[in-house]
């Protein structure tokens, strides 16, 4: 059984676009990355999955059941962290979390709250209004994990957290998946998606532009070559007509940094005409692959 399914989901806000014809599914126990820039429709998808928004068409299924907006039939089994976690400022973090845990199967939440707070170095007895932004986000993390959910839907879970705490959150995600939980991780931080996710979907302007294993997404990106020419020789001008898909990233007095797609053969043959001192091939990052997806629009660069 799929833990989470999105079938031809479309959500429009009047004439404005939310998401358009999205389809993907997530296996049980999988950590799935959900990537996209601001306004691409990540939060809209998540809110449709949570039954907080009514889809214009299509449907979402969670743990085998269709999501009916506003009905919350599966919500005891879901841990949710909204993109902007805000809770009652006048309550202590503990009271706030306990209230939310009680609105469901929160019987074991108290003990788990303590464990999570300790790992995140969070004081649960301070009023929320007195907490820093990072500490409020930690409260949100505790909220999502405190009832040991079967599905975790996390919208930017590490936003505002310092690198150490980010690692703790990523560890929590890995541990939850190892224990059998399914995780949908929406993020801008591509390194964290690469660190924990097996597969990812990339969203652009409300549409899914890629759905593949992280390794394949990385391969989709441009590769780079940095060339040092022999001292005293000039750096040649790149013949754009003969080398399609190759572009200059940086050019100095004796170095040329270029990005290319496809094979390197044509580029190397062109470089062979010049006095090359050495060549390096910087590792392609997910970040670059990701940016590449946003540069392309119907096959052209923006």
């Amino acid at each position: 059984m799929k833990a989470l399914e999105v079938k031809t989901l479309t959500k429009r806000y009047g004439s404005a676009r939310g998401v358009e014809d999205l389809s993907f599914d997530i296996e049980k126990g999988e950590i799935f990355g959900y990537l996209g820039p601001n306004g691409s429709g990540k939060t809209t998808t998540i809110r449709c999955l949570m039954g907080l928004l009514r889809p214009t068409s299509g449907q979402c299924r969670l743990l085998g059941e269709q999501v009916i907006p506003g009905r919350a039939t599966q919500h005891t089994r879901i841990g949710y962290l909204p993109g902007e976690f805000r809770t009652w400022p006048g309550l202590t973090a503990r009271k706030s979390l306990t209230l939310l845990a009680r609105l469901g199967n929160g019987d074991e939440a108290d003990k788990r709250q303590e464990e999570l707070a300790e790992r995140l170095d969070l004081n649960l007895d301070r009023r929320v209004r007195a907490l820093s932004k990072g500490n409020r986000q930690k409260v949100g993390v505790v909220f999502a994990f405190q009832h040991k959910p079967e599905v975790l839907i996390l919208d930017e879970p590490t936003i505002g957290l310092d690198p150490l705490v980010r690692q703790v959150v990523l560890d929590l995600i890995r541990e939850a998946a190892l224990a059998g939980a399914t995780v949908l991780l929406s993020s801008h931080d591509l390194s964290e998606v690469a660190a924990v996710c097996g597969r990812a979907a990339i969203l652009r302007e409300g549409r899914l532009v890629e759905l593949a294993p992280i390794s394949r997404i990385v391969q989709q990106g441009q590769r780079h070559i940095k060339v040092w020419f022999v001292e005293g020789s000039h750096v040649p001008t790149l013949p754009a007509d003969r080398l399609p898909g190759v572009r200059v990233i940086q050019q100095n007095s004796n170095t040329l940094h270029v990005a290319y797609q496809g094979t390197v053969d044509a580029l190397l043959k062109w470089l062979a005409q010049f006095p090359v001192d050495r060549i390096t091939t910087p590792e392609t990052s997910l970040e670059e692959a990701f940016i590449q997806y946003y540069r392309r629009e119907d096959g052209h660069e923006r």
Partner: protein
Amino acid sequence: MAMNANRRTPFPWPLLRFWALRILPAWFLIALMIFLFQLAVCGIVHDNARVKALLQYIDMLPFIKAFIGGDALQFGNIAGLIAIGYQEPFVLLLYMLFAVGVPTALLAGEVQRGTMELILSRQTTKTHVYICAGLITVVGMYALVVVMFLGTVVSTNLYEFDQEVPLYNFFKLAVNGGILASSVGGIALLAAACFRRSMAVSLTVAFLVVNYFIMIITQGWPRMKWLDPVTIFNYVDWAKIFSEPKWPVSDMCVLISILFVSTIAGGVIWSRRDLPL
């Protein structure tokens, strides 16, 4: 673990309790003011010298006099004078403060604060959330009316009056007034279900001001009497309640209809609407 798709989501009692406790200080303050106001009114009207001074004062404000009892405010009409405490604009303002403030704070306020997203992400349906807000509003309003009636009961035991005070009629007036207050709560719920907090408060206050204005006009200007049925304040007619032994069933039905229609419409809109989270 297998789950039944058709199972019911349990009622969110913790949310009801949490909201009730949050509203309690404001409710207690308003209830105390209403209670003390009843004591004050009875304290004034049991003293003949003060009654004369009061009536002279009220005679200078014909619109206010029309609103709080009109010609029934006469020396010797103790029931009519005590009823001032039920219709005085200050008391009505306190009721309306609760009726407008509570549903907008609970529904639109939680949405605006961002906490509604958290509540709805737990095992809580939108309908249950709406019912919680509705229960607190309607029960709270009714409880205020009970406090007001208790104020009269306590006052009549504290002060001696020349005539017997018809407490049963005051009870009828309180029940009818409670329905009026609840129906205003229903209108506020409808507004809170449809709009953001500031808009919901503005619309409910505008609704009340227009109704109040129409009532003042029709009371003071006989040619505009035909507008009487338009204002909700017309459906709590204390003179009729005191003069007729029957309960004002038709008036109560109109107010209950407003309460039901507005509350149900609000519930339908609330459950179908995408919240501006």
